[in-house]
């Protein structure tokens, strides 16, 4: 430790040194521990097919979580993602009932997600309204439109080829959703950590005014982030609708808070400005392992949610508590 030095070292701190004490390492330890505990607790856990089935517990939510993570890093939030899924799924159902073929149905789903994202983005970036309240509003609006369209009816009878997204396998036990999840993780990881767009997202999350004063088109970036979240919700809508083989307006209710939980557990600061995609990937896997492991023991969902809630607080609290007690 020195006084502020007159000569600045001619290199950056090595990334490896930083990784060692990072959040992601902690999560990895948690994930491995839970994996081992699960393997000990239930004889059914270490079955590739079961693990493959279990991946459905998190893949759709995680797809959205990647886009949501970027949004939260930028200091915004989208609570309407579950509602976007409902609306996109409803739109797909309408397209199907009007005789659209499989590619068209998928396009409609993605397009609806995009439009919903654009609507949120326009209100937040265009009119400058706070995103948390805008999306509380659009959460009712989007799902409300689904109710208007569907009422108490349901869309069923999607073409058999459509089932591929949510029920198909690419190779052996590797599901289509798992592949989409992996691709999304890669794309968003590169986007956030390796591109100048990602850098501007961090800048905005840390100080949006200064970012604007640095020549960054802050509102455009925000708008794009809402679009991305909308599209990823559309992708999740395709997967979920395909998996359920039907659409009802109540589809995906409560998704938003689970997605936010994954993002936060992944170490993304809810106040914006920091967080990583690998963290989100690990968090999604941890959540999937916890719910599946407890499910195998027939623990009721609500008790699982206690565990998830405790995990969420505990993973953040314990390191802070330890460092507090040390000093």
């Amino acid at each position: 430790m020195t006084t502020a030095p007159r000569h600045i070292p001619d290199r950056l701190t090595s990334p490896a040194a930083r990784a060692l004490k990072s959040w992601e390492t902690l999560l990895l330890v948690v994930a491995v521990t839970i994996f081992l505990l699960n393997a000990m607790a239930s004889p059914y856990f270490l079955d590739p097919w079961n693990l493959s089935d279990a991946s459905f517990n998190f893949t759709e939510k995680a797809m959205i979580a990647f886009a949501m993570a970027m949004l939260i890093v930028a200091g915004e939030i989208d609570l309407s993602v579950g509602a976007i899924i409902a609306l996109a799924s409803t739109a797909m159902g309408m397209a199907m009932s009007m005789g659209a073929d499989m590619p068209m149905i998928v396009l409609v789903g993605l397009g609806t997600g995009l439009l919903c994202g654009a609507f949120n983005g326009a209100l937040v970036a265009g009119l400058g309204l706070p995103s948390i309240v805008v999306t509380i509003g659009t959460m009712s609006l989007f799902r409300g439109i689904s109710y208007i369209v569907l009422g108490d009816a349901a869309f069923t009878g999607y073409p058999a080829s459509f089932a591929w997204f949510g029920q198909g396998y690419v190779w052996w036990v590797i599901t289509v959703e798992l592949v989409i999840f992996a691709i999304a993780a890669l794309v968003f990881g590169l986007l956030l950590h390796r591109t100048s767009f990602g850098r501007t997202v961090y800048a905005i999350g840390n100080n949006a005014t200064a970012a604007r004063f640095s020549g960054i088109r802050v509102d455009r970036v925000r708008f794009i982030l809402f679009l991305l979240t909308g599209v990823m919700s559309g992708v999740a809508a395709v997967c979920l609708t395909s998996r359920l083989g039907s659409t009802r307006p109540s589809i995906a209710s409560g998704f938003e808070l689970e997605v936010v939980t994954i993002v936060v557990l992944g170490g993304v600061s809810i106040l914006g400005g920091s967080g990583t995609i690998p963290g989100v990937v690990l968090a999604a896997i941890v959540m999937g392992l916890v719910t599946f492991g407890l499910g195998l023991l027939n623990v009721p969902g609500i008790v699982m949610s206690i565990v998830v809630g405790a995990l969420l607080i505990g993973v953040i609290a314990v390191p802070r508590l330890i460092s507090k007690l040390r000093s």
Binding site: S42, Y44, D47, N50, D53, A54, F56, N57, Y147, G151, D152, A154, T156, A163, G166, Q167, L240, R243, L244, G245, S246, R248, P249, S250, I251, A252, S253, G254, T291, F292, G295, L296, N298, P300, G301, I302, S305
Partner: protein, 306 residues
């Protein structure tokens, strides 16, 4: 070898399903060598139920008997269960035929549809206005019963169904919807709530509005929950089948199918122990028994049982 039968509720904690679970345990005790796994999601969503089903499939249970939150959404998952050699039946609230081997109706849908309107009409000799307070708009059995009720409305020419509202099986929402009904239709004579949550909330709303005697609440409910309202007069009568019997029968059928003692095909007859037997129709559905009506004369007898 123990036969493991999973009894999946729409959601945990609802009295009706807890009673059904009791019945299933009774069947298990009778059959011996049967383990009942009573489970379900925490809230009444299809996604939650699918997660539960996935973990049951992973445990390779022998049979799944499910009361579905969604007719269609469970189908792909249940199909996978059947592919992995698990016997799948639905009970109470059914799934589409391709997602199960057979469906056990608590009673026949036309009979229930007729019963609920008859319960209201019996106390309205001069006719009048009635409204329906349902559960969620996606609830299969509710919608079937209401549709069946509409079919027989011709038999009750003086009765007018003025509205159908949805309380989502939430006590407060049902309460507010019932209030809204009385507000919008000042001359309302009866509220039909074919759901155990809705009927209690509606009776409470009628009591609070001081309209006991003017608005009769009826429909399907549990005697234990309705006892007070029958005594106060808010509800003159209501009906229900015995959920213990229903759970018992579902477990019996699941066991029979899982052990190949019976096959699920149209026309097949399956024995359900003390409840006798059921016959499958061309859709693979069977009805357990007639709904039973409760009123001031018999409520005390049953309110302590379920």
């Amino acid at each position: 070898e123990t036969v493991r039968i999973a009894l999946v509720a729409k959601a945990l904690g609802i009295g009706f399903f807890e009673a059904a679970a009791k019945g299933a345990e009774e069947a298990a005790a009778e059959l011996g060598d049967v383990e009942i796994i009573y489970t379900g999601p925490t809230d009444t969503t299809a996604e939650g139920q699918i997660e539960v089903l996935n973990s049951l499939i992973a445990q390779r249970v022998d049979a799944i008997a499910v009361s579905a939150n969604d007719t269609d959404a469970l189908v792909p998952t249940l199909k996978r269960a059947m592919e992995r050699g698990i016997t799948v039946i639905s009970w109470d609230s059914g799934v589409a035929p391709e997602g199960r081997q057979m469906h056990l109706n608590p009673s026949s849908a036309p009979l229930i549809g007729n019963t609920i309107i008859k319960l209201a009409a019996d106390h309205l000799p001069d006719g009048g206005q009635v409204a329906v307070l349902s559960a969620t708009s996606t609830s299969t059995n509710q919608n079937t019963w209401i549709a069946e009720m509409q079919k027989v409305m011709g038999d009750y020419p003086n009765i007018e169904v003025v509205a159908t509202v949805y309380g989502d099986d939430l006590a407060d929402k049902s309460y507010r919807e019932a209030q809204g009904l009385m507000q919008s239709y000042p001359d309302l004579d009866a509220i039909i709530a074919p759901t155990s949550v809705g009927i209690v909330a509606a009776a409470q709303a009628v009591t609070d509005a001081g309209k006991v005697g003017q608005v009769n609440v009826t429909g399907l409910g549990l005697p234990s929950e309705m006892a007070g309202h029958v005594k106060s007069g808010a509800s003159k009568s209501f009906a229900i089948w015995n959920p213990i019997d229903l759970g018992y029968s579902a477990a019996m059928i699941a066991h029979a199918l899982a052990t190949d003692a019976a096959t699920a095909e149209p026309g097949a007859t399956i024995s359900i122990g003390r409840m006798g037997e059921v016959v499958l129709d061309e859709n693979g559905e069977a009805a357990m028994a007639d709904p039973f009506t409760y009123d001031a004369s018999n409520i005390d007898e049953f309110s302590s049982i379920f």
